[in-house]
């Protein structure tokens, strides 16, 4: 029998280097051809870098109260302050450098956002996998809970969870735990999206024969879920994760706006906006404007990336 190396039905790409393959991959190709995405990713990257490197690149450390001079408060952007220090974006009502607080604040916001999203992701993906794979009662219970959860705005749920946590944690530990409570609250408020999507994708994947092949071998169901199903449902998870990150950042801001966020001595972007909003009418526009613009830029660029990712990972939409 003369063996044909390739069937005629589908051309197989010539072998190229891994880098070249990557460069030609769908994802990269669609990225290269979307100027909005390129700009968004540059903005997002810049903001993330700015946040991560804040302790090294910020002109001041606004979290260290010892360095503050209250009399520097309300210095307008790019002008001389009481103590003769220079503040590019001015100072807030506590004499904190607005630029530095934005840098450190983004750090807090991003940390909360990323951790909360990761938490929601792990929980949602886990429950979604179980619901989609096991089906039956587990599925019914998990998805009902998710439905109820989805019908309440995340903010309301986060408020509730925040309230409960505050009730449980003794007052003296609340501030230290505030960030974690926030992460927990936002995470718990957002897991259902992941669970829903993953459940749907899992139910599709479960029907596929590669899962049957593993089941025939008697592979442990947990291993099937983790090694077979999980990698194949990660695409939509990534999309929701990205969009969820933007959402989490906004939720953190809204919670902080409602006054139930991180301590005001270590403000996040939302806390900064809450503080800045008080100066909307009094002329100190920089205290509100710069953090607000940063927040919107951050959320927008992350959203744009998520949007691109959604389209890029869903070739049908192209």
């Amino acid at each position: 029998m003369t063996d044909l190396p390739h069937s005629p039905e589908q051309p197989v790409p010539a072998r190229t280097s891994r880098l070249a393959t990557f460069w030609r991959s769908d994802l990269v190709w669609s990225y290269r051809h979307s100027p909005v995405t390129i700009v968004a990713s540059i903005v997002a990257l810049a903001l993330i870098l700015m946040a991560v490197l804040a302790p090294w690149i910020a002109p001041y450390n606004p979290f260290n109260p010892a360095t503050l001079n209250l009399m520097d408060g309300m210095t307008p952007p790019n002008s001389a302050s009481y103590s003769d220090r220079y503040f590019l974006l001015g100072t807030d009502n506590q004499g904190r450098d607005v630029l530095s607080t934005i840098m450190y604040g983004s750090r807090v916001s991003l940390f909360v956002g990323i951790m909360a999203t990761l938490f929601a992701m792990v929980m949602g993906v886990g429950l979604g996998l179980v619901a989609g794979y096991a089906g039956g009662l587990a599925d019914a219970v998990i998805m009902r809970v998710a439905d109820v959860q989805l019908s309440f705005p995340a903010i309301l749920i986060a408020l509730l969870i925040f309230g409960v946590a505050r009730g449980i944690i003794p007052p003296n530990h609340q501030e230290g735990a505030a960030v974690w409570v926030l992460i927990l609250a936002i995470g718990l408020a957002n897991w259902a999206q992941f669970a829903r999507t993953v459940r749907g994708a899992t139910m599709v994947e479960r029907q596929k024969d590669y899962v049957a092949a593993a089941r025939i071998l008697g592979v442990n169901p947990i291993l099937i879920l983790l090694r077979h199903v999980l990698p194949n449902v990660l695409g939509p998870v990534l999309v929701i994760g990205t969009i969820g990150l933007a959402l989490a950042i906004i939720e953190e801001a809204t919670l902080s706006y409602l006054g139930v966020g991180v301590p005001p001595t270590q403000p996040s972007l939302g806390t900064l906006i809450r503080i800045g909003q008080q100066f909307l009418f009094s002329g100190e526009w920089w205290i509100l404007l710069f953090p607000a613009v940063t927040l919107v830029l951050l959320a927008l660029s992350v959203n744009l990336l998520g949007d691109w990712l959604r389209d890029a990972l869903n070739p049908k939409l192209r």
């Binding site: 069937s7 039905e9 589908q10 590669y210 071998l217 592979v219 990698p231």
Partner: protein, 545 residues
């Protein structure tokens, strides 16, 4: 016969693909005369569907006609503006798609869709259009058409829906019907009826048919002339009889050679029976019930349980080293059988013994089953985890069952297996999407062999593949059976494949094994009516007029 209905000259359809351009249809020319049935045949990717889409003007973006011309009754149509082309559709060119389940809008009644189509093209009142719709349904062979016209698509069976689709296509009396794989999604028995309806309707309404299909058998039975396409080009055209009996081009020759037939033409490919006739696999009174319409919550409540029996007391046995073919149409329970045998689904009652071990009996049976039984699936695209490398896919069974643990040992074995299924060992590092369908099915076979099984259940192993590839895979399976002394359970709706591969065969219908026995006996001298009907319905190139 002066003027052709359709005349296509030097048609080129291109798909700009990133920096590249993919030529789906390349310099294709042909003509269809009034009332003529022309078959367009080719394997997947041959450009036959794209040619049809180009004619009716439904090429999906970003594809477009890049050259050539299309004339309908002499009038050039490919360069018409979109709304003018839209007016031709349905009115002068009708189309039938492959899947009747998805071709109809699920939210509207059949009648509404018919009336809407009729009134879009003919100046009829609502009532007149409705009368015509009923007539069309009657013509298309829908019983009680006057009542059923107000039913929704989901209330029809697949075959009935395809009749509705044909009625819709013919509703405005077009001169040409393009039928794109009109029967591929249907069972054999239904397939024959649909072809008949299509031919009858077109004949009575005077429409020519452009029949696009991968199934040479369908064309053999239906078409007057045929066009063979390959890689976007026409390879050969001629009358059906000429091409099937005397193909000229090497591609056509190879294509026709690889088509299995239910008539025993030559040597059997299946290896001659080993002398050991003791039943290696023994299926006894296998039954499987499903509960219907119960959600997880309602299951908690007491109440009447409606039961559907998918498999009903099926018994057969397979001798070691032999192939048992299990045939049946969709819903006959053959896949349920397969699932019970490989351990994916617990039987309601009955037993399955492999080499004397009851595979559903406790931990022992479980162990024996996992070691001895393997499965090859229908869809090579879904049966390989797309995120795993080939090496890992093939190694999984041997690692899971502890056949080989040491890394180099695993690697050696995987390389060995890949060679056995005639793939380069270099394939190990690649992902499944880098392979064609046939190659993937070989990877799947390598995986099945990886646990050194004695018995392999093959569930429609080639039905997703093109004929030429199908032949290669079947060859490979036979060769491996010989080499390893494997026992196969071959499940297929394709009678020809079963006949070619099996030594014994069973026919399943509605969960019941209506007939079983040696393959020649069943095929040449069927006893059950169902088997006879099935065999009669099979389109076969040997039946060419």
């Amino acid at each position: 016969m002066t003027e052709p209905v359709l005349s296509v000259k030097n048609l080129v359809v291109e798909f700009p693909f990133r920096d590249d351009v993919f030529r789906a249809v390349d310099d294709v020319s042909f003509e269809i005369m009034p009332g003529e049935v022309v078959g367009v045949v080719g394997e997947s990717g041959a450009g036959k569907s794209m040619t049809g889409a180009a004619v009716i003007g439904l090429i999906e973006r970003p594809g477009h006609i890049a050259g050539g011309e299309i004339r309908l009754k002499g009038e050039r149509i490919d360069n018409l503006p979109e709304d003018a082309r839209a007016k031709l559709r349905g009115k002068r060119i009708g189309m039938v798609f492959q899947d009747p389940l998805t071709s109809l809008n699920p939210l509207y009644t059949v009648g509404r869709q018919l009336v809407e189509t009729i009134r879009a093209h003919l100046p009829l009142s609502e009532a007149e259009a409705r009368r015509k719709a009923i007539d069309l349904l009657v013509e298309a062979g829908i019983p009680k058409a006057a009542e059923r016209i107000d039913s929704y698509p989901h209330q029809f069976s697949g075959g009935m829906r395809q009749r509705v689709v044909i009625a819709l296509a013919i509703a405005a009396e077009p001169e040409l019907i393009i039928a794109d794989e009109p029967t591929s999604a249907l069972d054999v028995s239904v397939q024959a009826q649909i072809i008949k309806v299509l031919k009858k309707l077109c004949a009575s309404h005077g429409a020519a048919i452009m029949l696009i299909t991968h199934d040479m058998g369908v064309i053999a039975q239906t078409a007057d002339r045929m066009i063979v396409m390959h890689h976007g080009k026409i390879v050969e055209t001629g009358t059906v009889g000429d091409i099937i009996r005397r193909p000229r081009e090497p591609y056509t020759i190879k294509l026709i050679d690889s088509i299995p037939t239910i008539s025993r033409t030559g040597e059997t490919i299946a290896p001659e029976a080993a002398n050991d006739d003791r039943a290696f696999v023994e299926i006894r009174d296998l039954v499987r019930d499903f509960e219907l319409g119960r959600s997880a919550f309602t299951r908690l409540l007491p109440g009447k349980v409606e039961i559907f029996r998918a498999v009903n007391e099926v018994s057969f046995s397979i001798a070691k080293g032999k192939t048992f073919g299990l045939v049946g149409e969709s819903g006959s329970g053959k896949s349920t059988c397969a699932k019970m045998i490989v351990g994916l689904l617990r039987p309601t009652s009955g037993s399955i013994h492999v080499d004397g071990h009851d595979v559903w009996a406790g931990a022992h049976g479980l162990r024996e089953r996992r070691r001895r039984v393997q499965m090859i699936f229908q869809d090579p695209y879904a049966s390989l985890n797309p995120r795993w490398r080939v090496a890992d896919i093939v190694a999984e069974p041997m690692k899971t069952l502890g056949i080989a643990r040491n890394r180099t040992e695993v690697q050696d074995r995987v390389a060995d297996l890949l060679t056995k299924v005639r793939l380069e060992p270099g394939a190990m590092k690649k992902f499944p999407h880098e392979f064609s369908g046939g190659q993937r099915q070989r990877i799947a076979i390598a995986r099945a062999l990886s646990s050194q099984p004695e018995f392999i259940v093959c569930d429609e192993p080639t039905s997703a593949l093109d004929v030429s590839v199908q032949a290669q895979v079947l060859d490979l399976m036979s060769a491996l059976q010989e080499e390893f002394g494997l026992t196969y359970l071959l499940i297929s709706h394709n009678l020809a494949v079963v006949r070619q591969m099996s030594s014994a065969v069973g026919v399943l219908h509605n969960g019941v094994l209506v007939e079983s026995g040696p393959v020649d006996a069943i095929f040449d001298n069927p006893q059950a009516d169902y088997t006879k009907m099935l065999l009669d319905a099979v389109p076969d190139i040997s039946k060419v007029a």
